[in-house]
């Protein structure tokens, strides 16, 4: 998996951006182009709804969804649940990232220790996070704690896995060289290991953040207490399908916002600063 991701990064680094044929386009035109896809989807959706003649409870139209969105906003549910979802997510993300980083570095600090713990790490990585949810429900009941723990687990597990495999892929020559030149363990950590694992660290964090968001929605649905996932799920159960669709749109927008605003800049910053996406590897 990591090899594939690295190969992908190699390819993208060499990618040639928009050719001369597109140079005459103004940025505004470009922006319209990216909105165009959504307009087409919404138009098709509206037409399909009218053509099918299905009731709004079964197949809400885009207008119904918009009404539901405005309604949810006016009642105040939208704001409250978005905030709750966001706080579950961020809490879980922070907890998971902290634990994952600490555990990953601890495991990989010593070759022998990582030999011992690697199979366990691989095994926990293989257990999909949703599988833990029934157990968490048995332990904590239907509560926000279940949601936060589920998100934290999802974030931590790929992170540990990535850090450990990242450290393992460092050629031992580098470490020996630093040791031979008189560097102690701390120097090895700060000068060799930490810079070398930055890509795997961010990769793990990105994978974890994506899966964590799904886990958030799912555990909100299943723990039936609060948040956007809960809104999506209960609305359908009470025949308010338009609210479900509105909730899905909010959820997608929330993810795009998080992805654009935080994850991508972070990734770009880290890989550029360390010169990892340049030709340095060659």
């Amino acid at each position: 998996m990591n090899r594939l991701l690295r190969a992908k990064a190699d390819i993208q680094a060499k990618r040639v951006d928009a050719g001369p044929g597109t140079r005459w386009m103004t940025p505004i035109w470009r922006r319209l182009e990216s909105v165009g896809g959504f307009i087409v989807v919404i138009a098709v959706w509206q037409l399909a709804q009218q053509a099918s003649g299905l009731p709004s409870t079964l197949f809400p139209s885009s207008l119904d969804a918009l009404h539901a969105l405005v309604d949810l906003y006016q009642v105040g549910i939208l704001y409250e649940y978005t905030l709750l979802s966001l706080s579950h997510y961020l809490l879980g993300l922070g907890l998971g990232a902290g634990i994952g980083l600490a555990l990953g570095l601890l495991i990989s600090s010593n070759r022998r220790v990582s030999d011992i713990l690697m199979p366990l790490v691989n095994f926990t990585y293989a257990i999909v996070e949703v599988a833990w949810i029934p157990l968490l429900i048995l332990w904590w009941g239907y509560s926000p704690a279940t949601i936060v723990v589920a998100v934290a687990y999802v974030v931590a597990s790929p992170l540990v896995h990535n850090i450990v495999t990242g450290v393992r892929s460092i050629p031992p020559v580098y470490i020996r060289a630093v040791r031979a030149l008189g560097g102690d363990r701390r120097v090895v950590l700060t000068e060799v290991i930490l810079p070398a694992i930055v890509p795997s660290l961010f990769n793990g964090l990105r994978v974890g953040a994506g899966f964590g968001f799904r886990a958030l929605i799912f555990s909100e649905m299943i723990s039936q207490s609060e948040g956007i996932g809960y809104l999506i799920f209960t609305s359908a159960a009470s025949q308010q399908t338009a609210r479900t669709v509105a909730g899905m749109i909010v959820m997608g927008a929330l993810w795009l916002f998080l992805d654009r605003m935080y994850l991508r800049p972070l990734e770009r910053m880290s890989t550029y600063r360390w010169g990892l996406s340049s030709e340095a590897e060659k």
Binding site: L4, L58, D115, V130, I137, L138, F218, M221
Partner: protein, 261 residues
């Protein structure tokens, strides 16, 4: 000097240590802490339950129906998504228009559709399969489009100026050029599909491994839940080892798409 035998056995023994520690700790836990018995059944109880599930055929039935659904959905989803993705991405304008939508739909794909799936298909296998196909499809579509987009423009122009027709372009440029991302897409879509499958079976399933676990929570069957967690881990490891590693070896490495590894 270590013999070949020792080198083969040593890592296995070493790797078994943490599992052993967990089992010992788990075995000692009831003696060390106070907690209601249902919260953590003893190792013996879990093993006994596992034996019962295997003997009654319940486990095998659940696993097979889950896997069948996953494979079906994986094949259907990818068979639609990859050709569609390639077609959409062949035109730069179209792919620029489609991409934001693909990103958005990929973000909401899968389990968020569960309530709609229930409204449309009712609780049961059809709704579960719909969810898995849905998440496989959108993830694969996104990966295919961004894979084709990552092919350097120079190569397109070179082929076009030498008079390549569309089928030649697809065969000689797009498929090999996007191969890394296509494989990554297959793998990601499998991972997401597997997650959606377990998740969907947990909330709207009527059979399968996820349903087995969720059904057990209603009766405080923590032993069954733990069996399920272990089985799910083993299944994914088996997928990875027997399906994806050989494919990766056969294609990516042989075609020299990976640089210096």
């Amino acid at each position: 000097m270590t013999s070949r035998f020792e080198r083969a056995v040593y890592p296995v023994l070493l790797g078994a240590i943490p599992f052993g520690v967990i089992v010992v700790f788990w075995w000692l836990a009831p003696r060390m802490f106070e907690y209601p018995a249902y919260m953590l059944p003893t190792t013996a109880e879990v093993l006994k339950r596992l034996g019962e599930l295997i003997q009654s055929g319940e486990l095998l039935g659940s696993v097979l129906s889950s896997l069948g659904r996953l494979l079906g959905a994986f094949v259907i989803g990818n068979l639609i998504a990859i050709p569609l993705g390639i077609l959409l991405a062949m035109n730069a304008r179209v792919s620029r228009v489609v991409m934001p939508v693909a990103i958005f739909l990929q973000a909401v794909a899968g389990i968020a559709w569960a309530p709609l799936a229930v409204v449309w298909f009712g609780i049961g296998n059809v709704a579960v399969t719909f969810l898995v196909v849905n998440s496989v499809f959108f993830s694969s579509l996104y990966n295919t489009i961004s894979g084709v987009q990552s092919i350097p423009l120079v190569l397109w122009r070179a082929m076009r100026s030498m008079g390549a027709t569309q089928p030649t372009l697809i065969r000689e440029l797009i498929i090999p050029g996007a191969m890394v991302q296509l494989l990554l897409g297959l793998r990601t879509s499998m991972a997401l599909g597997w997650r959606s499958l377990v998740a969907a079976e947990l909330i709207i399933g009527t059979n399968g491994i996820g349903f087995l676990m969720m059904d057990a929570t209603k009766w405080y069957g923590t032993d069954t839940v733990i069996c399920g967690i272990i089985i799910i881990g083993i299944l994914w490891l088996a997928f990875d080892r027997f399906a994806f590693e050989p494919i990766e070896r056969l294609t990516v490495r042989r075609w020299g798409l990976l640089s210096n590894h």
